[in-house]
């Protein structure tokens, strides 16, 4: 009896200690996980390995936009979570650690996993605990992972998603640069740009009415110094994900055509694509060659999200203009279209304007029309701007200052656009103004005179000749930053 008992014990111990998979002979390696937007280097192995992945859940305060604090729930301390790269056929030993200071249980559903819950049930982890499961990466492709603990929408809405790339046994061709970008929608109590600590709004989430739609966890995560970088002649591969939780992305790079898109992160590429759909809980791999320099803007082309909710990133490309591919502006001269329309916008024809609208000040009417056509979608109808996004022009200390003291700067702002931090009426803005193109000297003079003398602003009028001089000065100065939007 005693013998059989101890034999059973030994057997039980052997069973308990046996690896979950018969993978003991595979070489063991620890996966390198990277923070956004960087991707681990391609795997050069030509046979399967057992790959150890350790991912820690951290609940922490971060910035959703400049001056906007939010409690993010993260995989590895960043939104999106760390990028995981394994190879098709690898056996992955996955550890999920839930930091003891966290308040909530979490888990992970990796869409690359074949098995119930994608690992969710096996990794359900209380704070201060860790769990493990093992899976075989059967299908190559780019997959979202996310938390699936109830209420799942809130866990995702707070930033619990990332990407795992299962590199095919025949890898994609080598490129010069790889990055990853993950879109997400966020739901705060305050509107876009409302400063301070912002709590999660369950109502907004259920209504699918986000206050923020951003790339890589915050508005401005890929702008200014943090823009993606490239050089003319290089090839780029972007691993794109969409954590959601609600919105489907119309992913587009302004001024680029994707040479290849592995739609939905799958195996077969489509070629020559302008905009690709990235489903919530889905992905896409896009590739393009950098043919000429400039700043290329990454957007969700469901475009109000980009203008008003933050889904804007940048790729800055250096290495010289390729005139063969893109010339820049070659010509800008007056165009007198239909007489009745022209009379309303051309200030150098006051007689006609006065005759048709004797009570209106001709410059003001023409200026207003130019303003409505070129500026009002951002700065709003009466120059009031949008708090946190677009600075006001009405009673603007910033505008009055440059319109009176640095008129070259004002003209440069309109012609070349403007990025970086500015302070307007005591409030900080850190957005992107795209260049306003297609305005002749006379129109621009009318427009700037209008704007700098409306809504409580005061500055001397601009003449056509003054604009011409300033335009020449601007155009001979340093090259433009952003490329014009499509």
């Amino acid at each position: 009896m005693k013998t059989s008992l101890s034999l059973m014990t030994t057997l039980a111990m052997m069973l308990a200690c046996a690896p979950a998979f018969a993978a003991a002979e595979l070489p063991l390696e620890k996966a390198t996980l990277t923070e956004p937007p960087n991707v681990p280097p391609p795997i050069t192995r030509t046979s399967a390995a057992k790959v150890l992945v350790e991912l820690e859940v951290i609940e922490k305060v971060g910035q959703l936009a400049d001056g906007v604090d939010y409690v993010f729930w993260t995989y590895g301390g960043t939104v999106p979570g760390r990028f995981i790269r394994v190879r098709e056929g690898d056996t992955v030993e996955f550890w999920l650690m839930n930091h003891q200071n966290n308040k909530l249980p979490h888990n992970i559903d990796l869409h690359a996993v074949t098995g119930p819950g994608g690992g969710a049930a096996s990794t359900f982890t209380a704070p201060g605990h860790k769990t493990r499961f093992t899976f075989k990466a059967l299908n190559p492709g780019l997959y979202i992972y996310h938390c699936a603990t109830a209420p799942v929408g809130m866990h995702i809405a707070n930033g619990m998603y990332g990407l795992i790339y299962v590199q095919p046994t025949t890898p994609l061709p080598k490129v010069d640069r790889e990055y990853y970008v993950v879109q997400g929608d966020f739901y705060t109590e305050g509107d876009f740009g409302a400063k301070g600590g912002q709590a999660f709004s369950m109502k907004r989430a259920i209504d699918e009415n986000p206050s923020y739609v951003v790339f890589n966890g915050s508005a401005g995560s890929l702008t200014g110094d943090r823009a993606l970088k490239g050089k003319v002649g290089e090839t780029v591969r972007l691993f794109i994900g969409n954590g959601g939780p609600n919105l489907v992305s119309s992913f587009h790079v302004i001024g680029e055509i994707f040479d290849k898109v592995f739609t939905e992160g799958g195996s077969r590429p489509q070629e020559n694509v302008q905009t690709t759909i990235v489903p919530a809980g889905g992905s896409a791999i896009v590739e393009y060659k950098l043919d000429t320099d400039g700043t290329y803007i990454l957007v969700d082309h469901s475009i109000f999200r980009t203008f008003n909710k933050g889904s804007l990133g940048m790729m800055k490309v250096e290495g010289g203009q390729n005139k063969d591919v893109y010339s820049g502006k070659e010509l800008d001269e007056s165009y007198l279209g239909d007489e009745s329309v022209a009379s309303a916008v051309l200030p150098n024809r006051p007689a006609a304007a006065v005759a048709k609208a004797p009570t209106a000040k001709p410059d003001a009417a023409a200026g207003k029309s130019l303003y409505m056509a070129n500026c009002s979608m951002c700065h709003q109808q009466n120059g009031e701007g949008i708090p946190g996004a677009f600075p006001p022009l009405a009673a603007s200390d910033f505008l009055n200052n440059i319109a009176n003291k640095n008129r070259l700067d004002l003209v440069a702002t309109v012609l070349k656009g403007r990025t970086g931090k500015i302070t307007v009426n005591g409030k900080e803005y850190n957005g992107v103004m795209t260049p306003v193109s297609g305005l002749g000297d006379a129109d621009l003079a009318t427009l700037l005179t209008y704007v700098s003398n409306q809504w409580g602003n005061k500055a001397p009028a601009f003449s056509k000749d003054e604009i011409k001089k300033l335009r020449d000065a601007v155009m001979t100065a340093a090259p433009a930053a952003p490329s014009p939007p499509h």
Partner: protein, 250 residues
């Protein structure tokens, strides 16, 4: 007799009183059968306050076998009372709720006091009350306040703020998570291996199936947390209070 009376006076002053909770009907987030609207809840009594470090230390003097470093690893994980310095309380923590205790230790404490842990139904029934309403589970402001607490990391310090609900029970929310008698009852039967479907139902969209109030995210989080525990688990944000069926109390 006078000794007993004096003793009970001391206890009343030193230890939180138990509050009588009237019988009623309640629809918890999980557990209702199809077509069932609610459960009957019998009258019971529940501690007005969370069990404190000092009270738990007193218990351990009577049950040294459950002391830190002594307790069997079958009854508590390695983080049991990890906020205590050895067997003694950290300075100034006597009145703070005891945390990092396992279900076994919490239930043993309650039994030592002639009570038990509250059932999940009882806990949710009494915790649905706000400062002014017995059932505030659909009051958006109340739910949002609780949700706000769940959304923040635990950190090192427990908040000192105290909330008293309409029954006179303190700090059911916004302080620590609490053990219940049947904490894993929503998901697990006695044989865990047969619960595959139930557990899977808690993840992803499946979590909404079978819930009484899909908008009650705070309750989802409580059920999710309870479901992540085993009886030997301890958390730095998990404490308890005791309850008793009214017929059991004197």
């Amino acid at each position: 007799m006078w000794i007993l009376a004096a003793l009970s006076l001391v206890i009343a002053a030193d230890r939180p009183v138990r509050v009588a909770i009237p019988a009623g009907r309640f629809a918890p987030l999980f557990g209702l059968d199809t077509g069932q609207r609610d459960f009957a809840v019998s009258a019971f009594a529940i501690d007005a306050r969370l069990v404190s470090n000092a009270e738990f230390a007193a218990f351990l003097r009577a049950r040294p076998d459950l002391g830190k470093g002594r307790i069997s690893s079958a009854l508590a994980d390695e983080c049991y009372l990890s906020h205590w310095e050895g067997a003694t309380l950290p300075p100034g923590s006597s009145a703070a709720p005891v945390v990092s205790v396992s279900w076994f230790a919490a239930q043993a404490y309650c039994e030592w006091r002639g009570a038990r842990l509250p059932s999940t139904l009882e806990w949710e029934y009494v915790a649905a009350a706000s400062e002014t309403d017995r059932d505030a589970s659909r009051d958006p402001a109340f739910v949002a306040r609780i949700l706000g607490w769940y959304s923040r990391p635990t950190g090192k310090d427990l908040p000192g703020e105290s909330h008293r609900n309409v029954y006179g029970v303190y700090d059911l929310h916004q302080r620590v998570w609490e053990w219940t008698l049947d904490f894993n009852g929503a998901f697990n039967t006695a044989d865990n291996r047969q619960d595959g479907d139930k557990i899977a139902g808690m993840f992803c969209g499946g979590g909404a199936i079978g819930s009484a109030r899909r908008e009650d995210y705070a309750a989802f989080m409580r059920y999710a947390l309870r479901g992540s525990l085993s009886a030997r688990s301890t958390l730095a944000s998990l404490g308890f209070r005791c309850a008793a069926s009214t017929t059991e109390t004197r």
